[in-house]
Symmetry: D2
């Protein structure tokens, strides 16, 4: 599908595609093997660090970054094209230092961090030396309504004291994870969108307890991993506050826009790869006297997949462009829309591919089942579908009042 972008982006696209072909796909199995051969799955497979160096050398590093002074400064629209390519492999985003939640955390630090905060954590993150996590969701309330959050951050002198139960802190299992962005209430009685603040909490602070690992459809997502993290009387200096007290919700909103484009383009990349795998498969298998590729039902599977992917991509690119041109707030409806469409399409396409692969599709011989599980969580992460559909409906109806 043709979509016009700048020459610069087209060049990066080509380099990225070549990198995927040369280094990523051929090492997916090695990655898993290195994990399996270690004593624990919570180590970094050496291949990752090797590939990171290669990516840096080729200028394929921190491509997500729109901030001045930190790199390529691609627009959301431009980066979206690259992000799709990275999304084709679950091991790729980390290799290019473009994986969540580090990208969002780096954006927050660039935008809201003090010079000290940046020196302590941002540059190490940008360099891929440490990893970070984001702790917001809580097991005891329906976090799809962000105002439900219960964690309290209480100031005592020059320190904040934090007590909380958080979960689905992605990346918290990573042995390199050094810093958490923590969201909680500093002013539980304040106006509803000014109750919360964000505070930086080093993972080695006393009282931070990575309670347990959370699997996703049987996958551990090692060594990244999702964790339940408890904060028991955790004390950090007030200088660890991000921006200002009461600005937690605002910061959270600001990171959501680009993050959604990333999530969605990666999901589309996964779908596109599944479609490719499916096409290859049906060309090579026969049943009842003819290749699968010649059966009408199979062709409809492929056609419907192409229909869904191209539409989802156009919509996501459209949302990215609107964000670039009019800002995140103006693009609010569009951002909600892609959050529904992209995971849905990705699940549909991958599911069809699985069906064409039979047993091989649900196993780990192909990346289909793992991508499916990933896409399924996207319908929950950053708000379940139902919340976004409600918002889209509400925004649409606003025009009629």
């Amino acid at each position: 599908m043709i979509t016009t972008t700048s020459n610069r982006t087209e060049e990066l696209q080509k380099k990225l595609v070549a990198f995927m072909d040369d280094y990523i796909y051929p090492n997916e199995k090695l990655y898993e093997q290195q994990l399996n051969e270690a004593d624990t799955r919570w180590i970094i497979p050496p291949i990752v660090e090797e590939l990171k160096e290669k990516a840096k050398d080729q200028g394929l590093w921190n491509l997500f970054n729109r901030e001045e002074g930190y790199g390529t400064q691609l627009s959301n629209y431009e980066y979206a094209h690259l992000c799709e390519i990275m999304g084709r492999s679950l091991i790729a985003p980390e290799v290019f230092n473009c994986n969540a939640p580090d990208t969002g955390n780096m954006e927050v630090l660039m935008q809201y961090g003090t010079k000290e905060q940046q020196e302590q954590w941002l540059y190490l993150l940008l360099d891929g030396k440490i990893r970070s996590c984001f702790t917001m969701t809580e097991p005891d309330v329906a976090s799809s309504d962000a105002t439900n959050i219960q964690s309290h951050i209480i100031r005592e002198g020059d320190e904040y004291i934090i007590n909380a139960k958080k979960w689905w802190s992605s990346g918290a299992m990573d042995p390199r994870c050094e810093i958490a962005i923590f969201m909680g209430k500093t002013d539980p009685e304040g106006p509803i969108h000014e109750q919360q603040s964000m505070v930086l909490v080093p993972m080695n602070t006393p009282g931070v307890e990575v309670k347990r690992h959370l699997p996703v459809f049987g996958y551990d997502h090692a060594p990244h991993g999702h964790a339940e993290v408890h904060f028991n009387n955790v004390r950090v200096p007030v200088s660890n506050l991000l921006y200002e007290e009461g600005k937690g919700f605002e910061i959270a909103q600001s990171r959501l826009g680009p993050g959604r484009i990333h999530h969605c383009m990666r999901a589309i990349g996964a779908a596109e790869r599944a479609l490719e795998l499916m096409c290859e498969r049906v060309n090579s298998r026969e049943t009842f006297g003819s290749p699968l590729a010649e059966k009408g039902v199979v062709r409809e599977f492929i056609a419907e997949s192409r229909l869904e992917i191209d539409q989802a991509r156009l919509l996501t690119l459209h949302a990215a462009r609107k964000m670039d041109e009019e800002g995140t707030k103006a693009a609010r409806k569009e951002i909600a829309m892609i959050k529904i469409v992209a995971p849905r399409v990705s699940l549909n396409v991958i599911d069809r591919a699985i069906q064409m692969f039979g047993g091989a599709g649900v196993s780990d011989d192909f990346p289909l089942a793992a991508h499916w599980a990933n896409a399924r969580t996207l319908r929950i992460v950053d708000g379940p579908d139902q919340v976004h559909l409600r918002d889209i409906g509400r925004l649409e109806l606003k025009n009629y009042q």
Copy 2:
């Protein structure tokens, strides 16, 4: 939704929207009333001819036309935006001389007609003075496979003798319909795509028999109408041949591309109007203690409709642009894709609107049921979904051989 077009198109969009508001919507009921009050439904409601003059005066005439020397020469991409607006009302396309099958027939005459043919029919069509029909589909074979066509065109001296049973000849019921483009086999033994030719047949030629009218879900689509037309030893001079013998399939293909963009954008226009009507309705009705607009299920109806419409529009505009830039043949897959997507989306959205309107939705108090019936036929016209899905699948698989 924002989609960039030229200034010229934006101006035309504005004028067209104003015309719809000022003259089209307010006269939809009058149109139907004039039909009902006449002795027969096969007359032209006077309001149509009045509005046509107004449209001409405002330069909103023949906007579909891309050929040099005949008007605005908008690209497919540009016209698509205008076509959507016209599609919002079933009485609108005729008012702007942009209705099928006249548009396609005029394109064929411009591209393939001799000077004589053009003088005899084209200019009258461009001026909106006469109407035309296109006779291809046959009741006795599955015409979704165009090679099934059975009609024979036999040359005898300077004449062609035509014998055939055709149906779904849209526009053939119109009292102003003077000319048919007829498709049939001149060389039934020739190579499969060179057997057919197109011949111009004046409707008043002896032997042309408009056998009966065909309703669509109970609608008669008067005064346009769909007809079964029999050709009994119909004789026309060989100068009525379009282009060359054996080129029928080629001409048919050439008209399909732009025609599909038109059909699809009109279907999207109908969907957009249905969504607007639905939003207005749910703001004004209450059940079980709250307005419909506040119910989650209703909001999901609206959100899903917005999701579908915006994706279908982006895909159709993308196909139009590809046709403009790379030609109809290169855009073949995209043209097949929109033929699936646009009617499907239109049906879904209109169906949701109908559901929100209850009894009013299935009646003629609102244009929903009529638009639905129209969109439903689109899944059959110019090839049923199954044929296009098969093509899309096949074209996609070609990349893997």
Copy 3:
């Protein structure tokens, strides 16, 4: 599909199937022709009255009737099997005196009518000599919430004075329609479910104005027809009250149960006929070198239709049996469930058949489009899907409180 019923029902099934084959299907076109040839479409095609006599002769009359002293007294479960067969043709139910709303109105008169009311109207209805309508829905409010109803019935001496605007009064266009069951509020301030009453209103009472006819997707459903009926200071004696004041809601509920079984089984019958027509069609048409019947996509159409129909039938029969064994109230959830499932299935199956028939499917050459339009209204009649889904969800959740 085998479902055990009594011997008596099996015998009736056989007779009914034979009657359909011998008299109903062969006369569907004649019925339409007689309507078309008359000066107005609001006359009774003579063939109907001829067939009614035949049906009476064969004991295929009033089969719906469960009341003692009025006929066969089949259970809901037994009659459901017969009702499906009748539903296969739109002209059939009337022939067997089993058409809505007359069946429901007769049930109400049998259950709640005084001897005088029965003598005046019930026996004529049971004999098929007059027809009736039911006036409940109102154009100005969302009648899906029955408490929204605005019509007032005011007692003045020995008379009720009725003022109201009603619509979708089915059967009110029928020239034989002599009596309306009218629902309105006698006590607008009373407890929510005791505000309404039902009153018998002869159609020739001064002030009863059949305002206009309402089409359904372009169909007029002549000579039965749906009407907007205005009641302008209509006066009827208080002896025309059904049961007691304030019992309107209760009576309405009581008629809904059996009525739903009837509607749903007829919808299933229509679906089964569509599947049969589809199977016959695909055996007789070829595209791209092979019969439609051999294409995978077509087989999936057929398979999915069979899956849907058999499940819907089993569910409806299950609901009927539960009503028979435990009463309408106990079967409330099941009755709501079939109201969702049966029309949905019917629409899906008929839509697939239409697609297989192409142009012929949307025309009146086959009964598909007409059956579709009918089934579509079923998703609105007696409460839109959304109201029933809400009820089912609520009833299910009750088990967890």
Copy 4:
């Protein structure tokens, strides 16, 4: 939902429900914990053997068994009700000695095994002392078309020599797995359905190599497990043949019928449990000012789930009854139908439940994700959906030739 069965079955249902409540659900976490605490996941958690003894004591043992002389001899229809209950927990079927593929293997041994074969393996299986696997699917061909199978069984004197690559041999990872039923070709040139035979192969025969474990969406299904098993010049005595040479296909068909009922009823049980969990969840969580249970969208989730489950159950019970009354062959279409419907419904319902649970839904805190993965494989196991839809379509069309 009420479905009449014998008193005996109702009693067993009650006992089984009580057993599930008392022993199964409370031990699901312990089961997982015992697996996690062992050095390997391929051990039997002690709790299983404890519960098996309890089940035996209560007469809840081998309930699947229809053969004379081996137990309760419930009909397929009767057992289906029990099987649904067992399907509610992934650890349950084994506890009642009713898990696949052992049930199917036991049925084969009862029906086709020689006395010696039965003495050697059947009684141990019936007693739950050993486990078995079934090796049919092959990685190198599309096994959905069973005639594609490539494995050869060559007779040499009194021995069969087997060479083959098989995979998805479920249960082959179980340390107690002692016997495999092997399917391969003894007569590759014979008539298409007489080429294959079944042979009993003890797992400890030289040359039998359990090559590797195959995960399912990240789950290892330990200690049962699915394996790729290679057979390298494996020699077994000819007395290990089941029934006769060339009867492999026939035996396979015979086991499919009851097996499908079991699979489908378990899938329905899983769906019913998911619906229960969902109802409980939405009663306990609040967003945007009201409990989830009061939101329209949530109620529709629940209603649609109830609609789907009840229909799937009725269809499966109907198929079971038909098998009981008319035999497996007569019920062929019905058996194919439930194979489509039950997994589909189960996936839909569980997916909705997951969505209501958010992060908790995709993790292992609730059995939803694991049940989903299980149900997803059902759309592939014993033939992918597409093969069954093709069959259903073909069988339906047979009535029209």
